[in-house]
Amino acid sequence: MNPKPYGLIAEFDSPAAVLHAAEKVRDAGFRRWDVFSPFPVHGLDKVMGFKNSLVGWFALVFGASAFIGSMLMIWFMNDYDYPILVGGKPTFSPPQALVPSYILLVLASAVGAFVGMVALNRFPRLHHPLFKNNRFAMVSRDKFFLVIETSDPKFSETETRGLLESTGSTHVELALE
């Protein structure tokens, strides 16, 4: 069985070139496409119309629940389940529980940010169709790629190839699944 095509992959030499190409591809109305680069290219977020990443919310939810959970835990342990009297002070007071709760907030938010990044990027992923493409290995070095997937409703091999070539790509080829 012949491998199915994954998409058209266009190579660029500079961040500006791939940025302009992305603008054209967006204007042509494509939806299943992405840009690959060795570092984040400034302005690409705007061109591709990304909303604010949800990672921050992951961190907030994780952190807030850890803070509340830790306050409750300390209240339960030192006041409710086994009250410990130290120097006649109240068995539970928020300032006393604040420091460990704050530390756990930091820990949980950090884990949340990491988990959010991993989940939103669909990691861990051991394989990607583009890894089979020899030219694509240069993406982490100094090349920039724009990939339009075959699953895009507007995809047609000849027309899309023409569009990508007109954007000034140095090399366009079909990547296989």
Partner: protein, 474 residues
């Protein structure tokens, strides 16, 4: 290329307003990639083996031997006795935590303040943080005596029905140090992901491809991935910055909440944070000055980087000098005879008078040499000062801990402290662990954040002529 470069020349601001480039502009992205991956991909150099073998011996033989001896015999093998129950173990704990701090400050705080020069040294400093916290975390665990009960420190349901006492700063410390280790490891690992993908893409053998690929998690460098990644990196650096201020201040509170003269001071949390960052900058310089030469990174970690670290060290030294001054002032001004006794004995005592002098001369005065530009450019001299700073900060902790404990309120209790050979060998063992891990890191992972360094070159800016823009801004 020549066209765009000449255009660039005509568009830049006048010479006196220009900032020097962070990375030499004639270096292409490909050159940077090849150069920065040379160490993890090339042959193991001889200097690496010369350093690695003794370090690994200390880590794999000396430290385990000392730990087995300590645990099977008891804490009495150390010099800890009454009244000095906190000896080298706690001194080394505080020292290692301190070494860790500069890494987080460089990688997180300078990221938030958009100091782009940090990209060249951030990764190396973060690795220092992770390994130093590991060494630090070992000490409280073995210091408790009955190590097999260490899990009492964690809030786990026990058959006794007892819980940890959350009012104690010692308890906070357990949380602070563990959190610090986990957050700094996460931060370090997250920064590594794009570079692990780079090493995966360049791997020549299947084993390397598999291992780097496994830890790269399937990174492709797509715009969507970068989008989430940058956000996560920002959030993590914000959180790590919080830890710069909390971890050592909680360590400081361990001391400040006691009643002991010399410890019972409100300045302690800030004192310990400042000292930690100061000591950490010393360690960054100790690590980077030789490594930049041996790994041929003079173009990436330039003299300007070293100059800036020296300036930050100088600033921290001034803060330390101020704190030392305030401590003596308060000891005199409070009229507390115990305080006056302890502080007088720091400089003119029976046993440990040298500690106070080392503190003031090495930490407060010696780095003042960094006011002179010639000194900030003399790498040998900087290296010597940086090593002395680490020693000086070790003696500061010695003076604070032992110097305050050995003469407490009852003269009948007074007893000097002498370390034993087990104390010394345990410390050498942790130094071995630190350097072993650091050398493995330098050998197998990119010690410069390749994708970050590439992102700050003019080639990376789509608005810049070198980034491909036609007649773009400069």
């Amino acid at each position: 290329m020549t066209d765009s470069t000449t255009q660039l020349e005509s568009l830049v601001p006048p010479k006196e307003l220009r900032r020097g480039p962070l990375v030499p502009p004639q270096r292409s992205l490909g050159w940077l990639t090849d150069h920065l991956t040379a160490m993890p991909e090339g042959k193991t150099p001889r200097w690496w083996w010369i350093l690695f073998i003794p370090a690994a011996f200390c880590a794999a033989v000396v430290l385990p031997t000392m730990l087995i001896y300590l645990i099977s015999t008891g804490v009495g093998v150390w010099g800890n006795k009454q009244p000095v129950a906190w000896g080298w173990d706690i001194i080394n704990f505080v020292w290692w935590v301190g070494v860790a701090h500069a890494g987080t400050l460089i990688s997180a705080m300078l990221f938030l303040t958009r100091q782009h020069w940090r990209t060249a040294i951030g990764r190396a400093a973060e690795a220092m943080t992770v390994f130093a916290v590991m060494c630090a975390g070992l000490y409280p665990a073995i210091h408790i005596g009955r190590v097999w009960f260490a899990w009492y420190l964690f809030p786990l349901p026990l058959t006794t029905g007892m819980w940890p006492q959350f009012r104690s700063p010692l308890m906070w410390d357990v949380f602070a140090v563990n959190t610090y280790l986990m957050v700094s490891s996460l931060f370090w690992y997250m920064g590594l992901i794009p570079d692990l993908a780079l090493l995966r893409d360049r791997a020549q053998t299947r084993v390397r491809k598999f291992l780097y690929g496994l830890f790269a998690l399937g990174w492709t460098g797509s715009a969507r991935q970068w989008h989430n990644y940058e956000k996560a990196y920002l959030v993590l650096s914000g959180l790590a910055t919080l830890l710069v201020f909390t971890v050592s201040s909680i360590v400081g509170m361990d001391f400040a909440t006691s009643q002991l003269a010399g410890w019972h001071e409100t300045i302690f949390p800030f004192y310990f944070v400042a000292g930690a960052v100061f000591c950490g900058f010393g360690m960054v310089l100790v690590l980077l000055i030789p490594l930049r030469k041996w790994c041929h990174l003079e173009d990436i970690i330039t003299l300007r980087h070293i100059d800036r670290i020296c300036k930050m060290t100088l600033m921290m030294s001034c803060i330390m000098a101020y704190i030392y001054g305030i401590e003596y002032f308060v000891a005199w001004y409070s009229g507390n005879p115990y305080d006056a006794w302890v502080f007088g004995h720091r400089l003119f005592g029976h046993y440990y008078w040298f500690g106070g002098w080392i503190m003031i001369l090495v930490n407060g005065l010696l780095p003042q040499l960094f006011w002179i530009k010639k000194v900030r450019q003399n790498l040998v001299l900087i290296f010597v000062i940086a090593v002395l700073i680490n020693i000086g900060m070790w003696f500061e902790r010695f003076t604070i801990i032992v110097g305050s404990l050995y003469q407490d309120f009852l003269p009948a209790n007074w007893h000097p402290f002498y370390p034993t050979w087990v104390d010394v060998c345990t410390f050498i063992g942790t130094l071995g662990v630190f350097f072993t891990m650091y050398l493995l890191f330098v050998r197998f992972l990119p010690m410069i954040a390749v994708s970050e360094v590439k992102a700050i070159t003019p080639h990376a800016d789509p608005q810049h002529p070198l980034g491909g823009a036609k007649g773009g801004r400069s």
